[in-house]
Amino acid sequence: MKTDMVIAGVGGQGILSIAAALGSAALDNDLYMKQAETHGMSQRGGDVQSFMRISDKPIYSDLIPKGGADIILSVEPMEALRYLPYLKKGGYVVTNSTPFININNYPEQEKLEATIKALPNYVLIDADRIAKEEVGSARAFNFVMLGAASPFIDVPFEYLEEGIRKIFARKGDEVVDMNIKALHAGRKFSQENR
């Protein structure tokens, strides 16, 4: 049991809460995990990424070797492509389709989608829309994304639910349920559209 994953996005998009849920899922179930993240400069609207590694055996490196990631999970479409050298052959790109545009030379939407669709294994999901319309909270898009990636993560799905429950416990049942609902919605989409 082993999953190496690059979680990508832009500073402030909250990719760390995805990592936190996964981390707590791993740790509470006696799996090993390492998660490297970016701090500092990159937070002013720059690109950020987090390397997430989960395994039932000890993990040495905090960094994932090139060509070693099982999944690239991106909360924004262009950022999914930035880390492609880390994706292994046969690995999956799971990305939100809603762009985060804070630069003038952001690529054309069509070209971007075409590039993603040219990849052998991808899930392109409008997590913003699903979060708003199906889950009822725009903020839950992060966990729609985690749900969408979940079929490719070698960790029992219940662990992910537990992880969410644990990190949001302080905020009350409503928030927990909302995010778990988002997790399910993302998973469903991915299973139907992989």
């Binding site: 490297a36 993240e37 970016t38 040495y60 490196s61």
Partner: protein, 541 residues
């Protein structure tokens, strides 16, 4: 045992708390900031009454920590690598005074310069000061070493450095905490009342003691659980792997079956016997170390044959942080790269936040400076350094904390008039004040803009020690009252701001302009905290 999910920096903080620390002193700097923040937010630390407020700079932090150690208690001082340059004066001398209570100096290096001005390797400083160094290879070691560092410091009566790098600092893993929380030391003065008095006669004696202790430090390192010799059959090569270098080595042998003998080093001075064994048994030795080729250079001096490979001969890149791929390639493995980055992916450089007060300062400044011709704005370290990038292209230097004012002074001395310094509020109290005094003493014609956002924003909005004090400090240093201006940097005031800039740049003396508006991000955070506190109070009532 239940594990906690901790960043490397958090593991150090928790280890120090559990290890009987009485105080942490620091100035924020990526990647070291969260050590102190963790202590500040720790309920346990709060209950134990552990000091954790921010210092004005790394030197004052180091000196305070030494003071706490003098009084017999365990103290930790944290900084990033370039912060150690600021603290170096005290740091070097603390090796001579020695310690009373345990003193742990945590320095976070930033190879690859993720958010720094250079890649300097703090192990060189540790060696320079001739003190023991710890270099954890994972989060668990980081935790254990913080506790151990205090013990080592007390056993050897010397400050102990813990050197980490960005990757470990900002990477999270499960950490098992020790069941026993060590009780803080009682107040206890040094037995030798002159130990900390570095008058030449005493300093000479203390220095001889430091020198005579080197063998002891080496012996401790030789026996350290953090150093090990892992034998293997293929002696065509041996590997010396330091800190994280060990992980990147083993990453290439997923089943743990590295065919070459390995010396894993996480404590210095270098364990001589182990190194001698591996260099004599193996045909050649590869050194994996993050930062400078410290061990590699020493070995090149030891060995006659050209049998040491690493960063100096290009086997590994001379600069940048180590990666599993870099190490894999050096070991002869192929990089598995499968996809390339598509050409449509654009760079997304960091930028000032929308609505940031620095933007209004730079917009006005750019227009006024253009009237004199560019190339005359000296800046400093903080969010406003991003003003160097498009669309502003507003600044011409960023060297070290405080250098804006002194460089502007030097340029003005050279005849570049007007010269402008842009510095943040926190950076000003960190190291700008003394430079301003120089300018005042010589009545050098410079315009100093202290862009005051009432926060240390670059590192996440820590408390600025300048808060509410800037005008008083400037007045006290001797800036003339009519040449101190406080203004509100908002688009509406654009012309007014320009007017003041222009007027003061024309003035043949020292002017200080303080555009003051709280950092947008800090404001949002403060509002949230306020709201939460109000909700809590309401729930209670």
């Amino acid at each position: 045992m239940q594990k906690s999910l901790l960043l490397g920096v958090e593991a150090i903080a928790q280890g120090a708390i559990d290890g009987g620390m009485s105080g942490v002193y620091a100035y924020p700097g990526t990647p070291s900031t969260e050590i102190t923040e963790y202590v500040q937010h720790s309920k346990q630390a709060n209950e134990l009454n552990i000091h954790s407020d921010w210092a004005a700079n790394e030197k004052t932090a180091m000196e305070s920590a030494l003071g706490m150690s003098y009084a017999g208690k365990r103290a930790m001082v944290c900084m990033k690598h370039v912060g150690l340059n600021v603290a170096a004066d005290c740091f070097m001398n603390a090796a001579i005074t020695g310690t009373n209570g345990g003193l742990l100096v945590v320095v976070a290096d930033d190879p690859s310069m993720h958010s720094s001005q250079n890649e300097q390797d703090s192990r060189v400083y540790g060696k320079f000061a001739m003190i023991p160094i710890l270099e954890p290879s994972n989060q668990q070691e980081a935790y254990d070493m913080a506790r151990f560092g205090f013990e080592l410091s007390e056993a050897c009566e010397i400050p102990v450095m813990m050197r980490i790098t960005t990757r470990l600092a900002h990477s999270r893993a499960g950490v098992a905490r020790s069941a026993e929380v060590i009780v803080q030391n009682k107040l206890k003065l040094p037995e030798d009342k002159l130990q900390f008095v570095l008058l030449p006669a005493i300093a000479r004696k203390r220095y001889r003691k430091l020198l005579s202790n080197q063998e002891k430090f080496e012996a401790v390192s030789e026996d350290s659980v953090f150093n090990s010799y892992i034998d293997a059959t293929d002696k065509s090569m041996g590997i010396i792997a330091c800190g994280l270098g060990y992980n990147y080595l083993m990453e290439n042998y997923p089943d743990g079956d590295c065919p070459y003998p390995v010396v894993k080093i996480s404590q210095y001075p270098i364990p001589r016997t182990m190194v001698q064994k591996i260099t004599s048994e193996c045909d050649k030795v590869m050194v994996l170390e993050e930062g400078y080729p410290v061990i590699e250079e020493i070995l090149k001096g030891y060995l006659e044959k050209e049998a040491v490979i690493g960063r100096l001969d290009g086997t590994l890149s001379r600069d940048g942080e180590l990666t599993p791929d870099m190490v894999g390639k050096a070991l002869g493995f192929e990089i598995k790269e499968s996809f390339e980055v598509p050409s449509i992916v654009a760079a997304r450089p960091p930028a000032l936040c929308v609505g940031c007060s620095h933007i209004d300062v730079y917009k006005a400044l750019n227009e006024v400076v253009a009237e004199y011709g560019g190339g005359r704005v000296f800046a400093d370290i903080g969010c406003y350094t991003l003003g160097a990038l498009p669309p502003f292209n507003a600044i011409n230097s960023c060297v070290d904390m405080g250098a804006s004012i002194t460089m502007a002074k030097g340029a003005a001395d050279a005849g570049l008039i007007p010269s402008v310094a842009v510095i943040g509020d926190s950076t000003f109290t960190h190291s700008g004040m003394t430079g301003l005094l120089d300018a005042i003493n010589e009545k050098t014609p410079i315009t100093v803009i202290i862009s005051d956002n009432e926060s240390i924003s670059m590192t996440g909005g820590q408390k600025s020690s300048a808060k509410g004090k800037l005008e008083a400090i400037c007045l006290g240093l001797g800036v003339e009252k009519e040449h101190i201006h406080v203004l509100l940097p908002v688009p509406k005031k654009h012309d007014e701001i320009k007017e003041i800039f222009r007027k003061e740049m024309e003035y043949n003396g020292v002017s200080v302009i303080i555009p003051r508006r709280v950092c947008v991000q800090k404001n949002v955070r403060d509002q949230k905290i306020k709201k939460a506190a109000m909700a809590k109070a309401a729930a209670k009532a």
